[in-house]
């Protein structure tokens, strides 16, 4: 009996040991994992934290004068006031150009550019996917992104000067639309590829024209894709610096370019720049929230039983 029992006990102890070892090991690896995640989080979040706190710090807190602090000691809206009204208490230098113009310019050009890219990209990718019109377009549209933008900027500037598009809302919108078209095209293409042709054929047989099939059937089906596409392209346009820098001068300067002009005799206006960044972050976030319910991870065409 004893002889029989012992190996049993032994094995129980053994299992117990190995189990506790694995628990310890997994705890350790979990700790490492979390440490790494926290680090990554900090790397990503710190600039945001910096921007938000800085935006609410008064002038003397973001100059080294009074020593740097994590949180604003005397939180103020002065930076925002300065951006919108050109002056604020305790700052002798006034701003001759307030944020209104550039904010409007950014909103207009990014929105129009997004509309151009998404409309053109959606229609052209649908034509390629469904009607096999200009199949080579799928690759050639990528050429717009194949070289560094700087390499083509001089010819583009000359062309835009020629058509009178420099420093106009439509000139900048147009180049935004063109530059982000490849993204819109390819994104929408992957979604259209997923739509089974029979669904469209069923609608055609039921009596719809091609156009009606497109906007009543296909477009609603790819709506999540469309929402993703709009958000993605808008963010690309919104954060552009180079194109706006080269194609605007005064009237239609956008936020990123405007930010760079926020230097005064007193040096870099970090507080104002942070406030500007804070404001600039709002539209994309707002847009994201607006279309959030359409942003679905995977499209479901569940009806199709192959």
């Amino acid at each position: 009996m004893v002889a029989l029992l012992r190996p049993d006990e032994g094995s129980i102890v053994k299992t117990h040991k190995t189990r506790s070892v694995t628990i310890k090991r997994s705890f350790r690896s979990l700790a490492v994992k979390y440490a790494l995640l926290l680090l990554a989080c900090a790397v990503v979040m710190y600039p945001l934290f910096w921007m938000i706190t800085m935006a609410f710090k008064p002038f003397d807190e973001w100059t080294t004068g009074s020593g740097l602090t994590w949180l604003p000691q005397n939180a103020t809206l002065g930076n925002f006031e300065y951006l919108f009204y050109g002056q604020t208490e305790g700052l002798v230098v006034t701003l001759d150009r307030t944020i209104g113009g550039p904010l409007w310019a950014s909103l207009v050009t990014s929105t129009c550019g997004t509309i151009i890219a998404v409309v053109a990209g959606t229609l052209s990718s649908y034509a390629v996917v469904r009607f096999n019109i200009l199949p080579s377009l799928a690759l050639s549209v990528l050429q717009l992104r194949l070289f560094p933008p700087l390499a083509v900027m001089i010819p583009v500037m000359v062309m835009w000067a020629f058509i009178g598009g420099v420093d106009t809302w439509w000139g900048l919108s147009l180049i935004y639309g063109i530059v982000t078209l490849p993204f819109a095209f390819w994104l929408m293409k992957t979604f259209f590829d997923e739509v089974p042709i029979e669904i469209e054929e069923a609608a055609r047989v039921a009596g719809s024209s091609y156009w009606r099939v497109f906007y009543r059937i296909t477009l609603p089906i790819v709506k999540p894709g469309l929402a993703t596409c709009v958000l993605f392209v808008f963010i690309l346009n919104w954060s552009d610096y180079l194109l706006a820098l080269l194609l605007t001068q005064k009237e239609w300067v956008t936020l990123p370019v405007y930010m760079n002009t926020l230097n005064t005799a007193l040096g870099e206006m970090y507080g104002m720049k942070a406030a500007l960044g804070f404001i600039a972050a709002i539209p994309p976030i707002f847009l994201g929230l607006l279309i959030q319910k359409h942003l679905v991870r995977g499209l479901t065409f569940g009806a199709l039983k192959q």
């Binding site: 047989v205 719809s208 024209s209 569940g302």
Partner: protein, 369 residues
């Protein structure tokens, strides 16, 4: 409603010929089944009838009229797709009303017609549900209802039952028959299931590798298949096909199977094989119910000797799997008196035997016996 004439239609995809020189005449109000194995070009044929694909050669006439230049949306065709193609982003109601809305049917009519169709298809309880939430069976009914609601002049169904489980399939099969009688429409029904085709259709077009093998009523193709493929494809239990070399001259012809069985042929079947030209040999086709045991009933009946390998009960019938020199023959045994391992004499009814050319598969019919 409409008659349809398919005249010498060929469809090629690049080098590949999906449908080859197909000709079928369909009368107004007829229920025709396109029957053939997967990949034989049935869907392609349907797409050409609907106008979703253009025929490479040939023409398709509706009431004698070529519609190839009429846009699809004006053809008034009902099409139930193989995968249903439900509009999953809409409600069931919207799916049903879609075809009516598109054709500018007045609102109050739409409401009543959708209600009627929903009732007809047992979908009333889920009219407001998103179509994506339906079960396969309900989707199937929705697909049929959606196509039928506009009262199309022809109704095309592409393997509508192949995704369903057996019970619901049998139910839908009878439903479809009732529907067709109610609507009185010309219906073309694609299936790879010969039982469906046999039980539903007025006429069956049997297609293999894009070619029309035979077109006729279910009884015609069953009783009088014009080639070996049709004989083999139609009928359940399957027809027996005895392949072998044909030896000897008129009068004392023999079929020698690969296994070495010698089958002496007399009378009509013997003279049928006189037409055989190919060197590959011939083939005798005989349906299980045309084989009998016991006493020889007619002098020309072919006598064979084998042993019982397997017994199988199909409903009230008993199927006997007989082994004759490594060739298997299935017979129906109405006497129900055999057991496995028995050695037994059996007879093939001579005037039910069909002769085929093994090379081309063509049916051979000679002169008088």
């Amino acid at each position: 409603m409409s008659s349809i004439q398919i005249n010498n239609v060929t469809k090629r995809f690049g080098e590949f010929t999906a449908v080859s020189d197909l000709s079928i005449d369909i009368e107004d109000g007829e229920f025709v089944a396109l029957l053939g194995p997967s990949g034989c070009g049935k869907t392609t044929t349907m797409n050409m009838i609907a106008g979703l694909e253009e025929a490479t050669e040939g023409e398709i006439l509706f009431n004698g009229q070529d519609l190839s230049h009429t846009p699809i949306q004006q053809r008034n065709i009902g099409f139930v797709f193989q995968n249903y193609a439900i509009f999953t982003h809409m409600t069931v109601y919207k799916n049903l009303s879609y075809g009516l809305e598109v054709n500018n049917v007045p609102k109050d009519q739409i409401t009543s017609r959708v209600a009627a169709m929903a009732k007809r298809m047992n979908l009333t309880h889920c009219l407001d549900a998103p179509a994506a939430s339906l079960s396969v069976n309900e989707m199937q009914k929705l697909a049929i209802g959606r196509s039928a609601i506009a009262e199309p002049r022809i109704f095309l169904l592409d393997e509508p039952l192949s995704n369903l489980d057996a019970g619901f399939r049998a139910y839908m099969r009878s439903e479809l028959k009732v529907l067709q009688r109610e609507f009185g429409q010309t219906m073309i029904y694609v299936t790879h299931d010969q039982i469906e085709a046999m039980s539903l259709a007025d006429k069956i077009a049997i297609i293999d590798q894009g070619k029309l093998m035979q077109y006729g009523s279910p009884l015609e193709v069953y009783n009088n298949p014009c080639n070996r493929f049709v004989a083999n494809f139609v009928g359940s239990p399957k027809i027996n096909l005895l392949d072998g070399q044909i030896k000897g001259a008129n009068g004392s012809t023999k079929l020698i199977t690969q296994g070495g069985a010698e089958v002496a042929l007399q009378g009509k079947i013997s003279s049928d094989f006189a037409k055989l030209k190919s060197s590959k040999g011939g083939s005798i086709g005989i349906r299980p119910q045309d084989i009998y045991f016991g006493e020889k009933r007619a002098s020309d009946d072919i006598q064979l000797h084998g042993y019982v390998e397997e017994l199988e009960r199909v409903g009230p019938k008993r199927l006997v799997h007989l082994q004759v020199h490594r060739t298997q023959i299935v017979a129906e045994d109405e006497r129900d008196a055999l057991s496995i391992g028995d050695e037994v004499e059996f007879f093939l009814t001579a005037d039910k035997c069909m002769a085929f050319d093994l090379d081309s598969g063509d049916r051979l019919t000679g002169g008088a016996a």
